[in-house]
C-alpha cells in the first residue's frame, strides 16, 4: 500500500452528475457511514488506478455553503477542516454542471472564499456542446484562478486529465489566497467583529470558528452558523449579532441582497468571454417529455402505471430469490441436524443462528429490486417529477412530494422504505417520513391478515356479489395504517419535528439514460449498508428471542423424542438404526414431541411473560397464547404463524394456508367452553399487527438512518401503544356490534 498523499473532498450542486463522477473516480472502493451525531452520509472512496493513495470524500449535493441545519453545518465543517475527528481537506473538487454554469458559480464563489486549493470539474460537457454552448475552459481557469477540467462522467471523458490534475495539485500544495467576492467593506466590518470575539475566546476558553463560518453567522439570519456561534459565545446574544448586522446593512444594503448581488455579479464578471451560446434549441427533448410526463391527465396515468408496475415487479421478482433463501436456510438446518445430535447447540444453530441470518438475508431481494428501480428513476430524472406530481397530496399532512416514494416502498417493506428516505434533504421531513413508514402495511403483515380473514371472516359477497367481504376487510387493514399515519405525521411536524418549513424548491433535471454503473453502485451500497449495519443487530436480537423461548426448560424429553424419530426415519442399513419402530409409534412420538414443545415454550421465559401479561391482553379479547404469539413476533411479525403453530402444538412447519392451523384456531376454546376466536378477536389481532412495530429490522434501520437510539425507541413505544389502543377499541366496538 502506497502512502496516503492527501484527502480530496467532492462538492457540487445537485444534478451535476457528482455521484457518477465519484463512482468513476473511486471505482469499487466506496464505504458509507454517517458523520457522528448527524444523519448526513459520509461516503469515502479511494482514487482508483493511480500510483498514490488518495482519499476521496463525497459530500451531499448542495446549492450553497450557507448552513441552515446541523447537517448542513457538518458538510461545511468537513470543507473548512473544523469537524472534530476529521482530517482537513487537502483539495476541494467542485463538480459543476456545464449547462448551468452561471448558477453553479454561486457555490464556486463560496468555495473560493475558504482559502483551500480548488479544482473545478466541468461535468456534462458533452450535453453543453450538444446544445451549442461553447465554454473557454482556459479563460475560465484564468478568471477563477484555479484549474478547470472539462469532463463527461457518464461518457468517461476527461477523467484521466482530472485525476492527473488532482495528483498534481496534491503534490504541489499551492498557496491559496482566499477570494473576496463580497464588498470590501463587509469583510472589514467582519474582521472588526472577529477581533471582538477573539478577545472573548480567552475568557470563555472556546475556539473561534473559521473566518468563513463567522461571516456566515453574520450573513444568515437564524442560520446554523449563528446558532453555533451563540453556543460558543452565549454572552454576545442573538441581539448582539443582529445589532452588528444592522450596522452593516446601514452602510451597505440588506445582507441577503448584498450576498446574492455580489455573487451573481462575480459570476457574470468571471464568465466574460468564457461562454458562447450557439443557441441550438437548448433543452427541447426534456421539455417535450415533460409536456407528457407532468401533464395533468397523462402525467398521472403514467405515474400510476409506473408505480403499479414497480410493485408488481417487486412482488414477482423477489418471490424467487426469497424462496431460494428459505430453501437454503432449510437445507443448512438439515445439514446441521444431520451432523449434530439433538441438544442446545443444535437448537442454537438451527433456531437461533441460521434462522437469525435467514431473517436478515430474506430482506435482500426486496431491497435490491426496490433500489434498482429507485436508482433508475433517480438517475434518469423522473424521481424529481414524482415529487412534483404528488407534492400537493403529501402537503395535506405536512410532508412534501419527496416523501412519496419512500412511503410507497414501505408497502412492500419498511426497511428499504426507510433507507429510501435519504432523498429527502430536510431532516424534519425525513424523520417524520421515517417514523410513519412502518405504518404502511408491509408484505410481512399479509400472511397474518390472510390467516385471520380466511379463518374468521365469512366469505360473504356484498352488492350482489360484486364485492367480497374478505377483500373489503383486507383493504380496510391496509387503510388502517394510512389513516393512523396521517395524523401521526401531522402531529410530529407540529411537536417534535417543528421548525422552519422546508423549502420545496426542486430542480427538475434534464432527462437522460440512466448510467448502469451509478445505478448498480446504489443497489450495492444499499444492500451492503443493510447487511453490515442493520444485519448484525437483527442477528443479535434473533438470538436473544431464541434464548427467551428456550430457557428455562427441561429439553431432555424433546431430545429423546427427536433422537427416536430421527433414528426410526434413518434409512435402514446406515448402521444408526438402533430402534425398530412402527409407523404408528413414530406418529405417537411426533404428536408427543409437539405437545412437549408447546409445554416447554409455555414454561420458558417468553411463555411466562405471556402468562404474566394475560390480564393486559384480555381486554383485547386475547388469551395468553395469542399474547405469546404477539410477543414472539416482535423481532419479525411473520413469526406469529409459526409461533401459533407451536403453542397449539402443531410444530413449527405451518403457514397461513395450512388447514390444520385454521381449524385448530376455529376450535380453540376458553376454559368455560366459549370459542377463543371470533370476528372481533380476529379484527383486534389484525389491527394490532397493522399498527405494531413488530420488526427488529425496521427499528435497526431507523437507528441507522437517524443515527440515534432515541428515534427507534420512540417509534417502538408509540407504535406499540397505538397498536394496543387500536386493538382495544376494535375489540370493544366490534364485540358490541357483532356480539
Amino acid at each position: 500500500m502506497t502512502e496516503s498523499v492527501g484527502r480530496v473532498v467532492l462538492v457540487g450542486n445537485p444534478n451535476t452528475g457528482k455521484s457518477t463522477l465519484f463512482g468513476v473516480l473511486s471505482g469499487l472502493s466506496v464505504r458509507t457511514a454517517n458523520y457522528p451525531g448527524v444523519t448526513i452520509e459520509k461516503k469515502v472512496g479511494r482514487l482508483a488506478d493511480v500510483q498514490a493513495s488518495v482519499e476521496l470524500v463525497d459530500l451531499p449535493g448542495t446549492y450553497s455553503l450557507s448552513p441552515r441545519s446541523p447537517d448542513e453545518l457538518v458538510a461545511v465543517e468537513v470543507l473548512t477542516g473544523e469537524l472534530p475527528g476529521e482530517p482537513d481537506a487537502d483539495l476541494i473538487v467542485c463538480v459543476v454542471n456545464a449547462t448551468l454554469l452561471r448558477r453553479n458559480l454561486f457555490l464556486v464563489s463560496q468555495l473560493l472564499e475558504l482559502g483551500k486549493p480548488v479544482i473545478v470539474a466541468l461535468n456534462m460537457i458533452d450535453s453543453a456542446r450538444g446544445r451549442g454552448l461553447s465554454i473557454d475552459c482556459r479563460r475560465l481557469s484564468e478568471h477563477l484562478g484555479v484549474p478547470v477540467f472539462p469532463v463527461s462522467a457518464s461518457r468517461r471523458e476527461g477523467i484521466e486529465a482530472l485525476k492527473e490534475g488532482i495528483l498534481t495539485s496534491l503534490r504541489q500544495r499551492p498557496e491559496v489566497k482566499p477570494q473576496r467576492p463580497l464588498p470590501q467593506r463587509f469583510y472589514q466590518l467582519c474582521d472588526e467583529f472577529t477581533e471582538r470575539l477573539r478577545g472573548a475566546t480567552k475568557v470563555a476558553g472556546v475556539t473561534l470558528p473559521s473566518r468563513y463560518l463567522v461571516e456566515r453567522a453574520i450573513i444568515d439570519r437564524d442560520g446554523e452558523a449563528q446558532r453555533q456561534l451563540l453556543r460558543r459565545f452565549p454572552e454576545i446574544g442573538g441581539e448582539g449579532i443582529e445589532a452588528f448586522r444592522k450596522r452593516i446593512e446601514g452602510e451597505l444594503a440588506p445582507l441577503s441582497d448584498v450576498e446574492c448581488d455580489s455573487r451573481y455579479a462575480w459570476a457574470k464578471r468571471h464568465l466574460e468571454g468564457v461562454l458562447a451560446d450557439g443557441g441550438t434549441g437548448s433543452h427541447l427533448p426534456t421539455e417535450r417529455l415533460d409536456a407528457i410526463l407532468i401533464h395533468r391527465v397523462w402525467g398521472l396515468v403514467i405515474f400510476a402505471a409506473l408505480m403499479f408496475l414497480i410493485f408488481q415487479f417487486i412482488y414477482a421478482w423477489s418471490g424467487i430469490p426469497m424462496d431460494a433463501i428459505a430453501t437454503a436456510q432449510d437445507f443448512l438446518g438439515e445439514r446441521v441436524a444431520a451432523m449434530l445430535p439433538p441438544g442446545t447447540l443444535r437448537s442454537l444453530l438451527i433456531d437461533g443462528v441460521i434462522a437469525g441470518v435467514g431473517s436478515v438475508v430474506i430482506f435482500l431481494p426486496q431491497i435490491a429490486i426496490l433500489f434498482l428501480f429507485l436508482a433508475i428513476l433517480e438517475d434518469c430524472g423522473y424521481m424529481a417529477r414524482t415529487a412534483f406530481l404528488v407534492d400537493r397530496v403529501m402537503g395535506w399532512f405536512g410532508l412534501s412530494g419527496k416523501s412519496f416514494l419512500p412511503l410507497m416502498s414501505s408497502f412492500a417493506c419498511a426497511v428499504p422504505g426507510v433507507m429510501a428516505t435519504r432523498v429527502i434533504e430536510n431532516r424534519r421531513d425525513r424523520f417524520a417520513t421515517i417514523l410513519i413508514a412502518p405504518f404502511m402495511s408491509c408484505s410481512a403483515r399479509l400472511p397474518v391478515y390472510l390467516l385471520m380473514i380466511s379463518a374468521f371472516v365469512p366469505a360473504t359477497r356484498l352488492l350482489g356479489g360484486m364485492i367480497s367481504l374478505n377483500g373489503l376487510v383486507l383493504m380496510a387493514m391496509y387503510l388502517v395504517g394510512v389513516i393512523v399515519a396521517i395524523p401521526t405525521a401531522w402531529l410530529l411536524k407540529r411537536t417534535l419535528l417543528r421548525g422552519e418549513p422546508a423549502p420545496f424548491v426542486l430542480e427538475l433535471p434534464e432527462y437522460k439514460l440512466p448510467d448502469a454503473r451509478t445505478v448498480l453502485a446504489r443497489v450495492w451500497e444499499a444492500c451492503l449498508a443493510f447487511l453490515m449495519r442493520a444485519g448484525s443487530l437483527i442477528f443479535c436480537a434473533s438470538i436473544v428471542i431464541w434464548a427467551a423461548a428456550y430457557w428455562p426448560g427441561d429439553h431432555s424429553r424433546i431430545y429423546e423424542l427427536e433422537r427416536q424419530i430421527e433414528s426410526a426415519q434413518a434409512p435402514a442399513g446406515t448402521g444408526s438404526a438402533g430402534v425398530e419402530a412402527t409407523e404408528a409409534e413414530v406418529a405417537n412420538w411426533e404428536s408427543e414431541l409437539k405437545a412437549v414443545r408447546a409445554q416447554t415454550l409455555e414454561g420458558s421465559l417468553l411463555g411466562r411473560i405471556g402468562h404474566a401479561i394475560e390480564p393486559l391482553v384480555r381486554p383485547l379479547g386475547w388469551d395468553w397464547k395469542i399474547g405469546v404469539g404477539a410477543l414472539a413476533s416482535f423481532p419479525a411479525r411473520e413469526v406469529i404463524i409459526a409461533t401459533l403453530g407451536t403453542v397449539y402444538s402443531l410444530g413449527g412447519d405451518v403457514d397461513e394456508e395450512s388447514e390444520g392451523l385454521i381449524s385448530t384456531l376455529q376450535a380453540a376454546r376458553w376454559p368455560d367452553g366459549r370459542a377463543v376466536y371470533n370476528v372481533p378477536v380476529a379484527l383486534s389481532i389484525m389491527v394490532f399487527f397493522a399498527l405494531c412495530a413488530q420488526c427488529v429490522s425496521t427499528l435497526m434501520v431507523i437507528r441507522r438512518e437517524t443515527n440515534s437510539w432515541a428515534w427507534p425507541l420512540l417509534s417502538f413505544v408509540y407504535m406499540t401503544t397505538l397498536a394496543y389502543l387500536g386493538a382495544l377499541i376494535t375489540f370493544q366496538v366490534a364485540s358490541r356490534l357483532f356480539g
Partner: protein, 98 residues
Amino acid sequence: MLTLDQLQPGQVGRIARVDGTDGIACRLREMGFVPGESVRFVAAAPLGDPLKCVIQGSRIALRGSEARRVAIFEIEASQSPDAVGVVAKSIGYATAGP
C-alpha cells in the same frame, strides 16, 4: 405588483425581488431567483401546485406559497414556442414562411 404565481402558463416575467431572509428565500436566491432575471412559468402540477418554471436555463419546481415571494415587475412577450403554436393554431393561422 405581480407575483410569480400569477403568471399564465408560457408567460415570462422579470424578477423585481424575493421577499424574506429565511431558508426558503435563501434557497430561491441560490437557485437563481435574483432581481433582473427572467423567469418563465411553464405549467402547474396536476393538482394545481407546485409550479414548474424555467430560470437561468434550469427547470425549477416550487410551491405557490413560495412563488408568491417572487415579485415580478414586467411581463415580457411570451417566448414559449408551444404557446405561440397554440395561439397560431387557434386563430387558424397556417405557418407561413418569413
